[in-house]
């Protein structure tokens, strides 16, 4: 009887551990993708706006030494 309960508990704990690991990896993956993101179709308008600012001379390469 106790053996069976022990087995079930081990299985449950093992499943919880694996579940937590998968959740944690996925959470970190999402955070990483929020931090580093590729520019794609979703960013097309903002990219075009920035490129236009450069082409029109509205934005110039930064020439100062520091931002402060």
């Amino acid at each position: 009887m106790f053996d069976r309960v022990g087995e079930v508990m081990s299985l449950i704990l093992g499943a919880l551990a694996v579940g937590y690991l998968v959740y944690e990896v996925e959470r970190r993956r999402r955070k990483l993708h929020e931090l580093w993101d590729v520019l794609d179709d979703d960013d097309a308008v903002i990219t075009a706006a920035l490129q236009d600012m450069v082409e029109s001379g509205e934005l110039q390469p930064f020439a100062g030494a520091s931002l402060a």
Binding site: D37, D40, P61, F62, A65
Partner: protein
């Protein structure tokens, strides 16, 4: 993120997007006079044309990430001399944030436009990447993020497939994260054994 819908319409779409985005963003750009870098336009020729255009969008949140960026900007410029850096004024940054609300709180954002991809496919599909530095909450994290950013730019300037490199890097980071989690568990186990 499926990115490669490249087709005959991409050039027309790019022109449309340019028209769409041509409205003035408002606010003056608070910049010093242009340097010699300005001569390196994307169409200047493949030999000496910059591979990237780097844009810094910063609304001015009083955050550790912003302080780290300000403290290290001159070093970033020295390390990244081959590609022009465009710093948007606070007014322009706020204007962009207002238009694209989901970006609020992520700045300073360092957006990198891959000129090779832009010239090939326009803004359709992959055309660069960005680091949302403002998401990093501690100075140490922000500094590490900034260092990774510059390292990636310097080591991948001549990459024939930047998108693949970025995805491979993210996969590797994800894998390292998984290993890190397991190692932390292991170290906790070790501690609990003592």
């Amino acid at each position: 993120m499926a990115k490669s819908s490249r087709g005959p319409g991409s050039g027309r779409r790019r022109a449309d997007l340019r028209e769409e985005a041509s409205a003035p963003a408002g606010g003056d750009v608070n910049l010093a006079s242009p340097s010699g870098q300005a001569a390196h336009s994307a169409g200047a020729g493949p030999a000496n044309a910059p591979r990237f255009r780097i844009f810094i969008v910063d609304c001015g949140w009083n955050s550790p990430a912003r302080r780290v960026l300000l403290d290290n900007f001159s070093l970033i410029r020295e390390l990244q001399q081959d590609d022009p850096i465009y710093v948007l004024s606070r007014e322009k940054s706020i204007d962009l944030a207002r238009r694209y609300g989901s970006r609020i709180g992520r700045d300073p954002i360092l957006a990198v436009h891959d000129m090779a991809a832009l010239e090939r496919d326009g803004t359709t599909g992959f055309h660069g990447f960005r680091l949302s530095l403002g998401l990093l909450r501690t100075p140490q994290q922000a500094l590490l993020g900034l260092q990774s950013f510059v390292r990636f730019l310097v080591t991948h300037r001549r990459s024939p497939d930047l998108e693949a490199d970025i995805r491979a890097n993210l996969r590797r980071e994800g894998l390292m994260g998984a290993i890190d989690i397991m190692m932390q568990h292991e170290s906790r186990d070790l501690v609990s054994d003592v």
